[in-house]
Amino acid sequence: MRRKQIVQPSDPAAVATVVMRLYVAGGAPNSVQAIANLEAICQQHLKGNYQLEIVDVFEQPLRALADGVIVTPSLTKLSPLPAAQVVGNLSDQSKVLLALGLQGKTP
């Protein structure tokens, strides 16, 4: 249940690529939901201009520990700065957009 680096080519001149990491707990319902919700957001708002790493805590627990993961699912925006963290199954889209700094960029 690990998906890594869904990299989509983008227009580098227009917007900086958003680099994100999503920590999930195997096939836990919230985690499955989070992946689906995030993919939908990316499709809708980033138009492929993003980089997403999905880390399965069940498989890499000590890495998750080192990264300070407490609850799952948990999304971290690594760049561009400022960094942001969102926890939950990302069902509240507006909050996710706000945290990712994508508010107002909706077409």
């Binding site: 195997g26 985690s31 939901q33 993961v69 609850v71 799952t72 699912p73 942001a84 969102v86 926890v87």
Partner: protein, 599 residues
């Protein structure tokens, strides 16, 4: 015949927390490989309790543990732990892992989350460190973010299942509103876990009082009351219940109280391991008596603990040295430990816990507390009473000979009987009082009671001098007890009278001796007279005889010389009559006359 075999009940496996008192009241500690819920309001000691259990497990048995901090940051926990003697930084490297599970306030929440991720992380960590303990501290902080009681419950069950699968001894702490005394959303947690401990912090007479109560312990007995706890150097200490049965060994060994005549009044001293109460008004020399006992104990080479309240150790030693009691030397040699406690804003419980720790550290054979009544200053009398009782039993259990003073306002030991009611549990009760008489205030010592020994019923005067305290007899004259100068005067008067009586006696004796000698002399003189007179008499008699003899001899000689016939000397005829010799008839006629007259 269906005979069922009787099976011995298997006691629940427990694991010691190493927390003073708690292991006693819970009958061995927490349930091993089970979950304990620790509830309480803010600042009631939940975090310290759970962290301390982990520290003790690591230090005493080398067991590893994980502390998941949901409420405080890891470094805050380390800073708080540094106030105790745990050496947490050293432990934190290997045996005690503190997971900072504090969710930053900048974290945005979008939708539901769960704990399956962190549990997976903890599982990996547990396996890596072979941890046997885990603490979820402040789990409510994280779960309330879910804002859905049903979801919260689901996560709690998730934790329970996870704990059961992993065979961990777990402590979950959760905040509890002390007013409603129920964890708002976690009531069901109490049913889920095997052991529930409630912590409480409240103000009693303006003094914060910490309490702990085990409200549930599946499959085990436990002391169900509320027990006071305090925070010491090693963390939490719980005042565990004393065993219901009193098992004190009664020694017949006597220990000197320091003053010879006092020992004599007690029938040879205090019993080893007994408790003595000295009551008295301020300034009746309670501290001096106590100091003398402590000094004497040190001189016997016995470890001694001197506990004073509201008076510094230096001041006490200085004051005692003025009456010839030297404690400094014994403090230097380490035999004597002085402890001065402040009683303001400290509950009696805290004092007890402190004294318990002192006894454990110093291992004294003799102990003094001056004055115990100060413990009742803050925190209410009923608590102080219970503490005083426990303290005396604690010292008896430890076979410590103890002398306690208690301040009493007023002068009658019967009416006051001490606020702390220690007079009933103390073995010996000495009362010091003042007698104010003719411009003087003098100290009187009486033994109110002394269990199991003969003791004097006499009042003695306690006299202080540079040579130390001593007891003297008092004079009772005309139904009044005389002390001080009056006693001295009485003594002087008595001495003078005695001397006078002696002189009079000697004088009379001499007089009688003279009289006797005189009489004897007179007897002697009379005897001499008598002898003289006897001798004279004898001489005289002899002379007389000689004269008679010589006259008869002379007559005889004369006759012989005249040539008369030798008639018997006795013939009176030879002697011539005085008148002229008358013829016979003449005399015959006279007779006849008479006869004729008769015819």
């Amino acid at each position: 015949m269906n005979e069922t075999k009787r099976v011995d009940p298997q006691p629940l496996a427990k694991i010691a927390t190493g927390i003073e008192g708690f292991d006693d009241l819970s009958g061995g500690g927490l349930p091993r490989n089970r979950t304990t819920l620790v509830m309480g309001g803010p600042g009631s000691g939940k975090t310290v309790f759970s962290l301390q259990a982990l520290v003790n497990a690591a230090r005493q048995r080398g067991e590893s543990g994980i502390f998941v901090a949901f409420e405080e940051r890891g470094r805050e926990i380390m800073a708080n732990a540094a106030t105790f003697d745990w050496g947490l930084p050293a432990l934190a490297e290997k045996q005690l892992y503190i997971l900072d599970a504090h969710l930053s306030p900048t974290v945005v929440q979008s939708g539901e989350f769960d704990l399956s991720g962190i549990l997976a992380i903890l599982k990996a960590k547990q396996e890596a460190m072979h941890a046997g303990w885990i603490v979820f501290d402040g789990i409510d902080v994280l779960l309330t973010l879910l804002r859905d009681p049903i979801v919260e419950m689901r996560e709690i069950y998730r934790i329970r299942d996870w704990l059961a699968d992993n065979e961990l001894t777990a402590i979950i702490t959760a905040k509890m509103d002390s007013q409603t005394s129920a964890v708002v959303n976690y009531g069901f947690m109490q049913f889920m876990v095997d052991c529930v401990i409630r912590f409480d912090r409240r103000l009693e007479y303006g003094v914060p009082a910490h309490r702990l109560q085990v409200t549930k312990y599946r499959g085990s007995d436990f002391a169900s009351g509320e027990f006071p706890l305090s925070f010491g150097r090693s963390g939490i200490e719980v005042a565990a219940p004393e065993p219901p049965e009193i098992i004190h060994e009664a020694s017949t060994e006597r220990v000197s109280a320091g003053i010879e005549r006092f020992d004599a009044m007690l029938g040879g001293g205090l019993f080893r391991g007994s408790s003595t109460l000295i009551t008295g008004a301020p300034g009746t020399s309670k501290t001096t008596l106590i100091g003398k006992f402590a000094e004497t104990a040190c001189q016997r080479g016995e470890r001694t603990l001197f506990v004073s309240f509201d008076e510094g150790a230096d001041q006490i030693m200085r004051n005692l040295s003025s009456v010839g009691i030297d404690l400094q030397a014994h403090v230097r040699s380490g035999l004597l430990r002085m402890y001065s406690g402040r009683t303001e804003a400290r509950s009696a419980e805290e004092h007890l816990i402190k004294l318990r720790a002192l006894i454990r550290d110093h291992q004294p054979r003799c102990m003094v507390i001056d004055p115990l009544s100060a413990m009742a200053k803050a925190g209410g009398i009923s608590a102080a009473r219970a503490v005083a009782n426990r303290l005396i039993h604690l010292m008896k259990d430890s076979k410590i000979t103890v002398v306690i003073s208690a301040l009493i306002e007023g002068n009658d030991p019967q009416t006051e009987a001490t606020d702390l009611q220690i007079s009933t549990i103390a073995d010996t009760w000495i009362h010091l009082s003042y007698l104010v008489c003719s411009g003087e205030r003098n100290r009187a010592l009486t033994i109110v009671k002394s269990r199991g020994t003969w003791h004097s019923n006499q009042v003695r005067e306690l006299v202080l001098s540079e040579a130390g305290p001593m007891l003297t007899d008092v004079y009772s004259a005309g139904g009044e007890v005389l002390m001080g100068t009056l006693r001295w005067e009485k003594e002087a008067e008595e001495n003078a009278r005695q001397r006078q009586r002696q002189a009079e006696f000697e004088h009379k004796q001499r007089e009688l001796e003279f009289a006797e000698a005189d009489t004897r002399a007179r007897i002697k003189a009379l005897e001499l007279d008598l002898q003289r007179q006897q001798a004279e008499l004898a001489l005289y008699t002899l002379d007389g005889e000689a004269r008679v003899l010589s006259s008869s001899e002379r007559e005889h000689e004369l006759r012989r010389m005249r040539g008369a016939d030798l008639v018997t000397r006795t013939e009176p005829a030879a002697i011539p009559s005085r008148g002229p010799v008358k013829p016979r008839d003449a005399s015959g006629s006279g007779t006849r006359k008479k006869a004729s007259q008769g015819e």
